[in-house]
């Protein structure tokens, strides 16, 4: 048991001593501690450009995926359309299509339009990849929410939009926010599709890491990875807090599905 858990966690933790070690390959016990790889990461224009580019992509993706995903979740759970099942299946599609296949396919479309390596190109690809996470989280929140609350608002004279803004939205807000965090990470951590739709002018941090691991293995990668891991864990912790904040309000009403 303990061995399996160590197998799971150790390779992730090993990058921390690696990033602080004075030698360029990891030794145990470490020869000495240094911040120089972090300094190298933060002062390298290439790494910084890739990091900022990825941050911009991830923020934009998070906004679009959360909007598109939430609206779709509303249509699937509360809507009155035929082919609901197909709509749901479509929104889950990117989870089952191998990322390399989607990467090649997106390259075929983006390349002739000269959209590889651009924010717009990445935004399209990463939004598609991130939407399932939002749909799953928001659908779950909507199914937990008693539809009678909405009916009560309508009965009190609210129209659909008012009922949504004053009743439904506040109740699903924590799930919506955690969906936004997950889609941010789904974009920022994404490497396979990014590998294909990056180019010399516009590289995501995933592509930059891939190249560095493949060609010049230095502890700068470990320093960059450590920064990314801690930033990701911080965000995930934040999302978990949001989801916890929602749980006392869980409604036990009949499901509308």
């Amino acid at each position: 048991m303990t061995l399996i858990l160590l197998f799971l966690i150790l390779p992730t933790l090993i990058i921390i001593p690696m990033s602080l070690s004075t030698t360029s390959h990891l030794q145990f016990p470490p020869q000495g501690l240094t911040w120089m790889w972090y300094a190298a990461y933060f002062s390298d224009p290439d790494w910084m450009a890739a990091t900022w580019f990825s941050l911009r992509i991830a923020i934009a993706t998070s906004l679009t995926a959360t909007t598109v995903g939430t609206l779709a979740a509303l249509a699937i759970v509360r809507g009155d359309v035929p082919f609901k099942g197909m709509l749901h299946a479509l929104s889950m599609g990117p989870l089952v299509v191998p990322h390399i296949v989607l990467g090649v396919a997106l390259y075929l479309v983006l390349s002739p339009l000269q959209l590889t390596g651009t924010l717009a190109g990445f935004l399209i690809g990463h939004t598609v990849l991130a939407v399932p996470f939002v749909v799953i989280t928001v659908m779950a929140a909507l199914q937990r929410l008693d539809p009678a609350l909405d009916l009560a608002a309508l009965n009190c004279g609210a129209n659909r939009a008012q009922a949504f803004i004053h009743v439904t939205l506040p109740n699903i807000a924590p799930s919506l926010a955690s969906g936004a965090v997950f889609s941010f990470l789904a974009s920022f951590d994404e490497a396979t599709v990014a590998f294909f739709i990056s180019d010399v002018g516009g590289k995501s941090i995933g592509r930059k890491m891939f190249e560095d691991i493949d060609f010049n293995l230095t502890p700068v990668i470990a320093a960059a990875s450590t920064v990314v891991v801690f930033a990701s864990l911080f965000l995930i912790g934040f999302a978990q807090l949001l989801l916890k904040a929602e749980s006392p309000q869980i409604q036990t009403g009949e499901h509308d599905q």
Binding site: P11, T12, I15, G79, L87, V101, L102, T192, M209, D256
Partner: protein, 297 residues
């Protein structure tokens, strides 16, 4: 219940702007809500994939014939399936005990176990593959340890083999096996196991005749998830695999980045896509996708 019935207007237009049931949105509203998703997926998902499939037939079926006639490519396909199967088996064997423990542990131990499962899940695949390189390279930690312990005289070649790829992929996909199994185990009423114990079954008998059979749906879902994800894995085999461990995904990568044979790469991708979709379609009920993935969060 039918609140709006009294002031519902008649006619075809009313049918799309008025909901049939007060707790649902009207058809028109529903379509408008679904539209952004349909539009995004049409441009960023369905159109690119159809373009890919079309490109694979650019020279007729030539690419596919080449794929089936060349022994080398057939071997890549069988290696891919065998690797994915091996990874799936390892994930289930290692994942089941962890999932089982997660339902039994309380307090600090439960927290640590959950951290060990979730932290890797939300760490980039790149970073975890890089960690394996650091550990297994010629002057890496594992080789240092083996030599200082006197188990080996010279550094062993641990990287760039198929075995390493299987291990690295198992490491990355393990949480995807653990979570669906955990989700099923958690819903089993403890009364069943207690009843079995009451009837005189020992812990082993209870586990094998009660708990294990009842958790099979979760196990099955985890296995399918691992298998499908393993089939299309690119980053890990590309970084820690070698020429001897060419898989479908790395072959596609090589065709597109080195050989620039796009129609052939498209044919390979189409085969991979078809296999993944076929498996998900066949096992869609066992998978009940959204459930399995929701436990990921």
């Amino acid at each position: 219940m039918n609140i709006v019935a009294s002031h519902r207007r008649q006619g075809p237009l009313a049918a799309i702007i008025r909901p049939r049931h007060a707790s649902r949105y009207a058809p028109l509203t529903s379509w408008l809500l679904a539209f952004p998703l349909v539009a995004t997926f049409a441009t960023g998902f369905l159109y690119p994939l159809s373009k890919l499939v079309a490109l694979s037939f650019a020279n007729g079926a030539e690419s596919y014939v080449r794929l089936l006639e060349d022994f080398l490519y057939v071997r890549v396909m069988t290696t891919t399936v065998a690797t994915a199967a091996a990874v799936t088996v390892f994930c289930i064997l290692l994942g089941y005990p962890v999932a089982f423990a997660m339902t039994r542990l309380r307090g600090k131990a439960a927290l640590i176990t959950a951290a060990c499962v979730f932290i890797p899940l939300w760490t980039s695949v790149l970073i975890r593959s890089y960690a394996w390189i650091v550990l297994l390279q010629r002057n890496g930690l594992v080789n240092d340890f083996l030599q200082s312990a006197g188990l080996s005289d010279q550094p062993l070649k641990l990287l760039y083999t198929l075995g390493t790829v299987v291990m690295g992929m198992t490491h990355i996909l393990l949480p995807f096996a653990i979570l669906p199994i955990y989700a099923t185990l958690r819903t089993l009423p403890p009364d069943f196991a207690r009843a079995a114990a009451n009837l005189g079954a020992g812990p082993f008998r209870t586990f094998f005749s009660i708990t294990l059979p009842l958790s099979l749906p979760g196990l099955f879902a985890g296995a399918i998830l691992c298998f499908v994800l393993a089939l299309g894995f690119y980053i890990t085999p590309a970084l820690i695999g070698g020429p001897g461990s060419m898989l479908m995904a790395t072959l596609i990568g090589q065709q597109t980045t080195v050989l620039l044979d796009w129609p052939f790469a498209a044919a390979l991708s189409t085969v991979l896509l078809a296999v993944a979709l076929l498996i998900v379609f066949l096992f869609r009920r066992a998978l009940s996708l959204s459930k399995g993935f929701h436990s990921v969060h």
